[in-house]
Symmetry: C2
Subunit: 364 residues, 2 copies
C-alpha cells in the first residue's frame, strides 16, 4: 500500500495547472517568458503535488548532473589521524550546496580502487572532480587526465608543475590534455619561512626541522621554506618524520642526539610538533625556555591542547575546500575546452595559493 504513489511528474503538474509540460518546465527552471498568472498557477500545482524534478530524466537530456566527485586517496590512513580532510570536506560541501550541486565521495585505498575511480570519472557521472592527490607517485592524476573531466586538485600535485613538459601527443595536445593543472594550496614554503624567521627573531640559532614525508609536496615545500632561511645549516638539523606524533617524537630524539644544544624546532605539522613536545618533556627540557617549538596547520584540537599550547603556522583548511569547489564550478560554467573561443579568452580558472599566518601561543 502507498507503495510510493509514484511521485508526480511534470505531466501531472501540467495537467493540474492546465498548461503544457513545456510551460511547467520553464517555470520550474526559472526560464524567462512565462506570464505571471500562468507561472503562479504552475507554482501552486507544483506545491500542491509536491513535485520534485526527476534528476535522471533531466540529466539524460541536459547532460549535466549537478554533482561533483571528491576523490580522496588515503593510503596511510593518515587521513583519519587529523581532521584535515573533514575540514576540507566541510568547505567543499558548503560551496557545493550553495550551488545546488551534490557531493559524491570517492575514497580510494589501492590499485583496484584507482581503476574503479578512473572508470567512474570517465563514465561521465559527474560534472567535475575535486582531487586530493597527496603523493608523488599517485597514479590518480594520470587517470584523471585521461578521464577528461574538469578537475581541481587539493594541494599542489607533485608530478608536474602545471602544464606537462611537452606532452609528446599528436597535435599539440588533444582534448584538453594540456589544460593547465588547477590546484588550491597553502603557501607552505612561505609559511615555513615565517616560522623559522620567527624562531630566529626570538634569538634561536640552532633550529632543527622535523620534515614530513617527502613524497608529499606540502612536506617538500615546508622543508624548502626552512632551507630558504637557514641555508645549508647542515643536514644534521633536518630529520624526516611522517606527520604523526610518534614520528615527531622519534625525530626529536634523533635531532637531540645529533645536536644536544638544539634550541628550537620547526615541525612540518602540529601532530609531529605534539610528539616533539612529548619527547622534549621526557628529556626534561622545558618549552619554550630550553627549546622553542613551532608547528604547522593550527589544527585546533591539537595546537590548543598541547602543553604548552603550540605556536604554529595557520592555514585555512576549510577555505581551501571552499575555494576548490568554487574554482571547479566556475570552470564548469564556462565554455569547455573544445568549443574554444578565439585566443585563450575565457581561460579556465587558475591555481590559487592561500597565504598562511603565524599564530603565536606559548611554545615559541
Amino acid at each position: 500500500m502507498s507503495e510510493t504513489a509514484s511521485r508526480p511528474t511534470l505531466e501531472a503538474v501540467a495537467a493540474r495547472a492546465g498548461v503544457s509540460r513545456a510551460t511547467v518546465s520553464r517555470v520550474v527552471n526559472g526560464a524567462e517568458g512565462v506570464r505571471k498568472p500562468l507561472a503562479e498557477r504552475v507554482r501552486r500545482a507544483v506545491a500542491e503535488l509536491g513535485y520534485v524534478p526527476n534528476q535522471a530524466a533531466r540529466s539524460l537530456v541536459t547532460k549535466r548532473h549537478d554533482a561533483v566527485a571528491v576523490v580522496i586517496a588515503e593510503p596511510e590512513t593518515r587521513v583519519f589521524a587529523d581532521p584535515f580532510f573533514a575540514l576540507q570536506l566541510r568547505g567543499i560541501s558548503k560551496e557545493l550546496t550553495a550551488h545546488d550541486a551534490q557531493l559524491v565521495l570517492l575514497l580510494t585505498e589501492g590499485r583496484e580502487d584507482h581503476a574503479r575511480v578512473g572508470r567512474y570519472l570517465a563514465g561521465g557521472h559527474v560534472d567535475g572532480a575535486l582531487v586530493f592527490s597527496l603523493h608523488l607517485d599517485d597514479p590518480l592524476p594520470g587517470l584523471i587526465r585521461r578521464a577528461e573531466v574538469p578537475t581541481v586538485f587539493g594541494g599542489r600535485p607533485g608530478w608536474s608543475d602545471g602544464p606537462q613538459p611537452g606532452a609528446p601527443g599528436r597535435e599539440p595536445d588533444p582534448a584538453g590534455a594540456g589544460r593547465a593543472v588547477v590546484y588550491v594550496d597553502s603557501d607552505n614554503r612561505g609559511g615555513a619561512r615565517e616560522a623559522v624567521r620567527h624562531l630566529l627573531r626570538t634569538g634561536r640559532t640552532r633550529i632543527g626541522h622535523i620534515a614530513g614525508p617527502l613524497d608529499q609536496t606540502s612536506a617538500v615545500d615546508r622543508l624548502d621554506g626552512f632551507r630558504d632561511v637557514m641555508g645549508d645549516a647542515g643536514p644534521e638539523l633536518i630529520v624526516q618524520g611522517d606527520f604523526t606524533p610518534a614520528g615527531g617524537e622519534r625525530a626529536l630524539r634523533e635531532l637531540l642526539d645529533r645536536r644536544p644544544d638544539l634550541d628550537a624546532v620547526f615541525a612540518a605539522n602540529d601532530l609531529a610538533a605534539s610528539g616533539a613536545l612529548r619527547a622534549l618533556r621526557e628529556r626534561g627540557l622545558r618549552v619554550p625556555e630550553d627549546v622553542a617549538v613551532v608547528g604547522f596547520d593550527d589544527m585546533l584540537p591539537v595546537a590548543e591542547q598541547t602543553d604548552p599550547p603550540l605556536t604554529t603556522v595557520r592555514q585555512d583548511i576549510e577555505e581551501m575546500g571552499r575555494l576548490m569547489a568554487r574554482l571547479l564550478l566556475r570552470g564548469l560554467d564556462r565554455p569547455q575546452p573544445g568549443e574554444h573561443t578565439g585566443e585563450d579568452a575565457g581561460d579556465g580558472p587558475r591555481s590559487v595559493v592561500l597565504p598562511t599566518t603565524l599564530v603565536r601561543r606559548a611554545s615559541a
Copy 2:
C-alpha cells in the same frame, strides 16, 4: 574539436557488434541467456569503444540509482574534533564500493540545511540513506520518515527507542511510518559497565564519571552503564562533560573538588579522558597510582598518545559503518514495504548492537 566525442551509446556498441541493443544491454548487465560467441563479440565492442553505460538513462527506467546518501549533522563541529566520522565513512565507503553503489555526502549545519536534506531525500535521488542523528531534538529523523526513504541510523536515535515497545500492528500506521527504526550502535551501556567493573576489580572504590553531552544517546547509555554498576553511588560522582578534552579537564577538577579522595575516573570518551589526564597531572596526581582513568572509543591517535596510554573501551567504528551500509543494501534488495508478502516474512533488517572490548593500557 574532440569536444567529448559524445561517449558511445548502447546503440553504437550494438552496431559495432552487429547485434541489437537489447543483446548488448543483456551482456552489459550480466543477464543470463546470451550465447557465448555473441556475448564475446559484444564485450569486445564494448572494450574497443570504451563504452560506459549512461547512468541517468538507466536510472530513468530502472528507478534505481545505485547511490546512497550519507547524512551527517555536525552542529557542534565535534564531528571534526575526532576521527570518528572519518572512520565511519571509510567503513561505509568500502561496503558501498563492494556493491557498486555511490556515496553522496550530505553535511548539515542548520535549519535550512535540514529542509534541503529533506527535499533531497524525498526527491528520490538515492536508493537509501545512512544517517547520523546524534541529538535528541534532531529534526532530521522526522524529515526522513516523511521522505519515506529506506534508512539506517548510526547510533541509536534518541527520539524513539527503536523497535522497543512491542511494535504494534501495521494497521495503525500508514506508509511505513512505523517501520521499525533500524540502527547500528555499539554496546555503550555494556561497555561502560565493563569499564567500571574493571576499575572495581583493581580495587578502586571512589569512581567518578565524566559524562558526555546527555542529549546524545551514546552519552546517556554510557552513563546508564556506569550507574548499573555503581548504583546510587551519589550524584556528586557524576559530572557532565562534552566529549572534549577541555570539558574533561573541567569535569575532573570539579570531581576532585567534590571528592578529593577520588581514586578512579571513567570518562565517556577518550578525548575527555585525555583532558582528565592533563588535569590530573596539573594537580600533581599520578595515573594510575593515585587515580586510575578509563576512556571510551579507543581512538588510536588519542588513546595511544596520551601519557600514560589510555585504558579504554574499544568500539569498532569502521565496522559500524560497514554494517550500516550492509544493512541498508540488504534492505534494498528485498521487497519494499508496500508489496507486503504475507506476514512479516522477508522482514526488513533489524538493528544491530556491536560488542565492545576493554583495551588495557597503562592508565588503569
